[in-house]
Amino acid sequence: MTELCDLTGDELSTKLRAGEITAVALAESALARREAVDDRVGAFLTPTPEVALERAAELDTYLATGAPQTGVAGIPLALKDVLTTKGIRTTCGSKILETYVPPYDATAWTRLSGAGSVLIGKTNCDEFAMGSSNENSAYGPVHNPWDLDTVPGGSSGGSAAAVAAGMAVWALGTDTGGSVRQPASLTGVVGLKPTYGRISRYGLIAFASSLDTVGTFTRSVRDAATLLGVMAGKDRRDATSLDADVPDFTRGLDDGAAGLRVGVLAEAFGEGVEPDVATSVRAGVDRLASLGAEVGEATLPHAEYALSAYYLIAPSEASSNLARYDGVRYGLRVDGDDSIEMMFRTRGAGFGPEVKRRIMLGTYALSAGYYEAYYGQAQKVRTLILQDYAAAFERFDVLVSPTSPSTAFPIGAKADDPMAMYLNDIFTIPANLGGVPAISVPCGLDGAGLPIGLQLTAKALDESTMFRAAAALESDLDLELRPPLLAAA
């Protein structure tokens, strides 16, 4: 049975506005769903039911006065556990931060909270957002609500699963190489990675600073546009946040695809892409064409080097970003005979194997004598990819590819093969290197009944056009996406 927690944020906001439902009833609905299914899914690391109900009650009092209401007021939100929440434990899916309670809120959450958002809990993720399956969490894997034996994708697997299973109406994740879009694709929800700098990174616990973005999981493109509108804009606490106009992203969503110039990335349908994925994404492109979009073939000639460049830049930055976890000021401390030994032991005990692998990779890539060959070379690739995008966006408004080469795979299938795991992000990584916005929208199911995502990419700061194309496709496909987990309930 469809419950309140299964509706879109937009539908719920309308009901709240009309007084048909209360924020408390809505929060209770989402909390009840978590009670019912999360022992099997494992989406939440720190649920916050008391915080949610108290906040919802406050909002009901406020909303009853008939005061102006934002599009997010009263609607339950889950936060990936790499976004800091003042007074609420934030672990990054790591043992090293198991007891860490931040003294401040992430700006993205501050803005949503200020607009009336209701925090329902902190979600599971790959440790320090490093992974594509959520198997790298120190607190156990997340199970995909579409098939509990498969992964939900990663690294924001908990947020994706929470939204897919109705435990939250929407959720925030972070996307460094595809960590929002790929799990959105694997769990049948909409996953947005905005332009780099659109949303402040203050309070986003850094993995790779030049690539990290806050992103959203929603059940509709409109909801993604609503959330982005609340969070976007210059933040004086983040020097890399963009001082660009923030349009009303929900305007023009219904303008259709007619006249949009859609470039299909030919190279994204080759070897390694599951046939069902390629077929479904091509069908999506055909739908856009039938809606009046001008479809052509696009190319990002240097995208084939993106994965290699990413696995030099991201670990390099990570090796530095994660140096602060030394047991001196917060988090885990394992005592030693002196401060250096304490630090060695703390880091040895606190970090999992994938995090250690990437710290070593990055440390090596930045070392004297190797810097130019690795980090320097990777930065050159990055420049070339930026040029590729600039050229492609002269001809096209949006670019299309599969979000992920595959649908959800069984838990454990790629756990021992880092290369196979890294290939999950082959289509999502270029947008991070280029700093451009991208979105994954569900476009169908494979033969096994698992969701497939179609990725749309637009030029920097042009989320509006991207939303318009995504909304046109979403509305035309009109998919009924309900994981079997809920049908059985």
Binding site: V82, T84, L97, P102, R201, A239, T240, R324, V328, Y371
Partner: protein, 483 residues
């Protein structure tokens, strides 16, 4: 035997005295209780981000302009990665291949020597670290059972100024550091107090045969905490390296630590143990790109620099070189001098009093007490001296009283009875009394023993309770004895 010359370059670190830290809004102050000026950013909390302090950027540009550097239109922060418990992020935000200020020079004057020009390689912006104290009964590191870290200093804006290896002697190094300090002081960018660590200095030293142009093996010396220890450490290191060269011992490239008590340097870490800092561009901070207009605005606003000021004092006031050097090395002193002179006091006398008597009182009573002396005090004091209304000794007493109390000169002179009796009628009566009492002395004088006049003046001073003008007393005595 081969003669060797020293080749010295200095790396100076200067803490800027901005109101807030380099990358966060915490207060930047010396001496606050431990860990009170801290926040998520300067403690390196997960998710926090650095935002550069515009005032600190303004100050480093000003420093660069004063040193004749090129101000880079595009410069980058880099991360310098190494682990240290008092460094919150375990990397320091610094600059690497694109510093804000490139090149420049500082003209220095070695006491009793000739002037020289020391090249500046670069001036760059970075952040300071916290401070570690090892807690143990003995206070010694090896039996410490706790390390206590104070992060108040973490993130304080730090400017590093690197000189070319143009310095040839400890005295020249001292002169360079003094000139740099005076320059920074005149720019009002830092407290430049070596004893508080707001000015710190490391040195690179190598030796080579005189006439050679190739550089010898370089040794870095750290932990020199005063002007004196810089010069001592360099003198020690030069003699150590010279002896090694003369006896054919190899010089090892290494970092050495100056031990003030032992008066010697000792190996800290060798080249093999040197850190690989894994520099890479700081992704959290966009490039620093000051506009040409802003740079020109700052150039136009530069104050008079010490060298120009010294030249002006000589030209305008005819002061002596040594006096000028001492006066201009201290901004408070030269400020006091300027104001005192502008109120009409004799510049040479004012300069002497400031550089000698007042400097002595500052040593005895502390700089804070010495700061009680205002230009008005000096003007009044010099006027009384000029009128012979007080004696030199009386003036010294009065100045010390100002340092102690801050009272007006007039009030002090009255309170302490320092005014000299310069009235010939009043003093004549005392002189007559003394002559009457010391008949033999008078006779001796008349018999040609003129030296006895000193004794008689002394008696007049005694009889007057010290208030007699000794010059006038002598005149009156001579008048009466010879008349």
């Amino acid at each position: 035997m081969t003669e060797y010359e020293a080749v010295i370059g200095l790396e100076c670190h200067v803490e800027l005295s901005t109101a807030t830290k380099m990358f966060c809004g915490c207060r930047n102050e010396f001496g606050a209780p431990p860990n009170t000026n801290v926040c998520p950013v300067c403690l390196g909390h997960p998710g926090s981000l650095p935002v550069p302090n515009r005032e600190a950027i303004r100050r480093i540009i000003t420093i660069g302009l004063a040193l004749g550097s090129e101000i880079a239109p595009h410069s980058l922060f880099h991360r310098k990665n190494y682990f240290y418990p008092d460094m919150p992020k375990n990397y320091q935000i610094s600059q690497y291949d694109l510093p804000i200020c490139v090149g420049g020079h500082l003209d220095v004057e070695v006491p009793n020597g000739q002037g020289s020009r020391v090249g500046i390689t670069r001036v760059h912006m970075e952040e300071d670290t916290g401070k570690t104290t090892h807690g143990s009964p003995s206070g010694r590191i090896h039996d410490a059972d706790a390390a206590l870290v104070d992060f108040n200093r973490a993130g304080v804006p730090l400017v590093e100024c690197v000189s070319e290896p143009d310095i040839r002697s400890p005295e020249e190094a001292g002169a360079y550091l003094r000139e740099l300090r005076a320059t920074l002081e005149s720019l009002d960018v830092s407290d430049v107090r070596m004893e508080e660590g707001s000015l710190r200095c490391d040195a690179n030293v190598s030796m080579r045969p005189v006439g050679d142009t190739e550089l010898g093996t370089k040794v870095e010396i750290k932990n020199m905490n005063s002007m004196r220890s810089l010069e001592r450490a360099l003198a020690y290191e030069i003699s150590r390296q010279t002896k090694a060269l003369e006896t054919g011992e190899p010089i090892v490239q290494e970092t050495r630590h100056w031990n003030e008590d032992a008066g010697a340097t000792a190996t800290m870490r060798s080249k093999e143990e040197a850190f690989d800092y894994r520099y890479f561009p700081e992704p959290d901070i966009p490039a620093i790109e000051p506009s040409a207009e802003w740079i020109e605005e700052l150039r136009a606003a530069l104050p008079e620099l010490p060298r120009a000021r010294r030249e002006r004092y000589v030209a305008e006031h005819g002061l002596k070189d040594e006096v000028v050097r001492v006066l201009v090395a201290d901004r408070t002193a030269s400020g006091l001098f300027e104001q005192t002179a502008s109120l009409g006091a004799d510049p040479a006398a004012a300069a002497n009093w400031i550089t000698q008597d007042l400097a002595g009182l500052a040593n005895k009573h502390g700089a804070e007490a010495a700061a009680r002396v205002t230009p008005r005090h000096l003007v009044d004091l010099l006027a009384l001296l000029g009128d012979d209304a007080i004696s030199g000794a009386g003036a010294k007493q009065a100045l010390e009283d100002v340092v102690e109390t801050g009272d007006d000169i007039g009030a002090i002179v009255e309170r302490r009875g320092l005014r000299q009796v310069s009235d010939s009628g009043e003093l004549g009566a005392i002189v007559d009394g003394v002559l009457a009492e010391h008949d033999d002395a008078s006779r001796k004088f008349r018999d040609g023993n003129e030296s006895v006049i000193g004794f008689l003046v002394g008696q007049v001073m005694k009889a007057s309770g010290g208030s007699a003008n000794p010059k006038l007393a002598q005149e009156l005595l001579r008048d009466r004895l010879q008349g």
